[in-house]
């Protein structure tokens, strides 16, 4: 059975399992209809011209994990940023693991989507925020139809979340092939501040396809720092759909570190609904083999006096392929917008490729917008300089590539995470040199 048919036929069984709350039920029912009409995207869609899902959709995925699977912390510790105190919302094959998690309801809610969708006390938050900014395209609709579990973070106003929150989705490989559809909702109140780290991690080489939707609401003057660590196994693919709604004077930064996985597609959408908003989108991609990473970003400047900063760096080896499609829309009312976009790439192998496409749609006349993309090789004179000091070719290359990616790391605000990412980069580049910062 084709995956689409399998999903459609699973929907009824799924809806029967979860509580049939009318409000969410209607949303889910409409969403499955949207997915049924649209189907999976294909290369005829402009936004999917360079990323084909055909191969990964051919796997015979289980739509739900059949059993509860457990993991010992010691076995998966390395996937945590374990040297910091943090809240943890952990899922194993799509199911919540209370054993590995550390949630809270004290002063704020760091808990589960399944609870938020069913408990009356969250009713108002759900009605105000759930599925308000997620698009109704096929993949987001598919996720909405099956929305049930994920992270739910609700921070009231004037609250500084004193420790970061880690959201990790593990897949155990107990299913021959598994499809996961986590749904996260994050609401950050006025003047509040939170740091979040998200990771999807397969533990075997069994195929996993994750189609994730995250909605983030940053209210007035809220500060949200979000980090996505994508360093998955060779048969794990991720379609990440993230939507961020910002109110006036809020600052949201989102860093995406893509070092692994078979196919990774990041649909990242920022909507600026207020003045003096700052949006930062940064990414480092370092891949090889036949890996594929696609960053598809949108920043929608709707009101005046706002800024956006996009900085994506890519290093592509072997037969890997990359896509950067960065769209910036500046509405007529959005005067005095400062929108910057940069996408710089290094191709380390002759067989690697990158398609990069900035798209600027500017309707205001008093704005500063810039974009630049480069595709290059390593600088020969810099190579000679490093090697003349005794640094061998491989290490010199790594050092230059590290330096190339480094300015994206500079804005990572959690030192332990920065250190970890630095290490991942060193590993990825195949060297062990003193990258301590």
């Amino acid at each position: 059975m084709e995956l689409k048919e399998k999903l459609l036929s699973s929907f009824l069984a799924f809806e029967n399992q979860v509580d049939v709350d009318t409000y969410v039920h209607d949303i889910r029912s409409n969403a499955i209809k949207a997915f049924e009409t649209k189907g999976f995207p294909n290369k005829k869609d402009e936004a999917w011209k360079y990323t084909s899902l055909n191969k990964i959709l051919k796997e015979d995925y289980s739509v739900f994990s059949k059993e509860e699977n457990a993991l010992e912390y010691s076995d998966v510790k390395k996937y945590f940023i374990h040297d910091i105190d943090s809240y943890k919302i952990i899922f194993i094959d799509g199911k919540y693991s209370s054993h590995l998690s550390e949630t809270t309801h004290e002063g704020m809610d760091v808990c589960l989507m399944s609870a938020a969708l069913t408990k009356p006390k969250y009713r108002l938050v759900i009605e105000n925020y759930f599925n308000k900014i997620a698009k109704d395209d096929s993949l987001a609709s598919l996720n909405t139809a099956f929305s049930h579990e994920g992270a739910f973070i609700n921070i009231p106003k004037n609250k500084l979340a004193e420790k970061p929150i880690q959201i990790i989705h593990f897949s155990t490989g107990n299913e021959a092939a598994l499809m996961l559809q986590p749904r996260n909702l994050i609401v950050v109140g006025e003047n509040s501040h939170v740091q979040i780290i998200e990771r999807h991690q397969s533990l075997t080489s069994n195929p996993v396809l994750t189609n994730s939707v995250t909605e983030i609401f940053a209210n007035k003057r809220a500060i949200v720092d979000y980090y996505k660590v994508q360093n998955d196994e060779q048969n794990a693919s991720l379609i990440d759909n993230t939507y961020i709604n910002q109110k006036q004077q809020s600052h949201v930064s989102l860093h995406t570190f893509s070092f692994g996985g078979k196919l990774t597609r990041n649909n990242l959408n920022f909507y600026q609904n207020g003045e003096r908003i700052d949006s930062t989108l940064k990414g480092v991609t370092i891949i090889g083999d036949k890996q594929h990473v696609d960053h598809n970003t949108l920043v929608h400047h709707i009101e005046p006096n706002c800024e956006s900063h996009q900085d994506y760096k890519g290093i592509f080896g072997d037969n890997s392929t990359g896509v950067f499609n960065g769209k910036v829309v500046v509405e007529k009312e959005a005067q005095k917008t400062n929108a910057f976009q940069a996408n710089n790439n290094i191709l380390v192998s002759d067989k690697a490729s990158i398609n990069t496409k900035p798209q600027l749609e500017i309707f205001a006349d008093d704005v500063k917008c810039s974009h630049g993309c480069t595709i290059g090789q390593l600088d020969e004179s810099a190579m000679f300089y490093l090697r003349s000091r005794g640094i061998p070719e491989k290490e010199a290359k790594a050092l230059l590539m590290y330096a190339f990616a480094n300015n994206v790391l500079e804005s990572v605000k959690i030192p332990q995470l920065k250190k970890r990412i630095t290490k991942l980069i060193a590993n990825k580049l195949g060297v062990n040199i003193g990258f301590d910062l």
Partner: protein, 250 residues
């Protein structure tokens, strides 16, 4: 220390060195002078192992070993150091991290363990002091936004850290004001010993007032056309290079 025999080299099929012969003994300072485009910097790059330069003929012997076929980093491991005329800016790599990597990679190549962190810090502090380098400077990105003088001091700082057997200073005086020149020269002089050697490449005699050479060679059109003592540098300063050209072309 260094023996160069009948060295011919070219870049992109253009012949630049046309038979260089040079012997530098341990403890000596040799100055190489010459008009622009004569091949001075090419000689420096060829000794250091820059890939774009093709050695067409001849040998480069360092302490009895032919290093002509070695990679630049392997030559560095054997004790060759080139102070660049135009040090390359490398954003994102701090001076300290760069030095740590260079030292430990060199140690690794020589079969030594990494230098302990405290020892490294001490060494960095000591050598930074020698070149009158501020500690803040060490955490900045390598050469990025450095003034001309800072770049050259940084080059000699690296030389002090790596303690090469053969140091080649390529136009180290260019872009230096008199204070920076004194600091750089002082650094080079303090690093001089009976076991190492220095080749100073310069267009002007000025630097040689501070780093006094034992021998002066003049390169013209890819060959050493005249050699002498330090007085030759003064003669060149006074009379320019035209008389050399005339002598050669006569």
């Amino acid at each position: 220390m260094l023996k160069i025999k009948d060295l011919h080299a070219s870049v992109e099929d253009k012949t630049i060195l046309r038979g260089i012969n040079l012997e530098v003994k341990a403890g000596e300072v040799h100055a190489i002078m010459g008009p622009n485009g004569s091949g001075k910097s090419t000689l420096a790059s060829v000794i250091a192992g820059k890939e774009e330069y093709e050695v067409d003929k001849g040998d480069i012997i360092l302490e009895g070993n032919d290093i002509g076929e070695l990679e630049a980093d392997e030559r560095a491991h054997k004790g060759v150091f080139l102070s660049f005329q135009y040090p390359v800016e490398i954003p994102g790599v701090s001076v300290t991290n760069f030095m740590k990597t260079a030292i430990n990679e060199t140690r690794k190549a020589r079969g030594l363990a990494d230098m302990p962190a405290n020892e490294m810090l001490k060494l960095i502090r000591e050598k930074a002091e020698l070149l009158e380098i501020d500690r803040k400077f060490l955490s900045r990105s390598l050469n990025q936004g450095f003034s001309g003088g800072e770049k050259k001091r940084n080059e000699i700082f690296q030389m002090a850290m790596l303690e090469p057997k053969l140091a080649i200073l390529d136009e180290t005086d260019s872009g230096l004001d008199i204070d920076a020149l004194r600091i750089v020269a002082n650094g080079v002089n303090k690093l001089k010993s009976k076991d190492n050697a220095t080749i100073v490449i310069t267009h002007y005699q000025r630097l040689l007032d501070y780093i006094v050479p034992d021998y002066v060679h003049v390169i013209y059109d890819g060959r050493i056309v005249k050699s002498g003592g330090k007085e030759l540098a003064h003669e060149l300063e006074e009379k320019g290079y035209d008389w050399i050209k005339e002598e050669v072309n006569a």
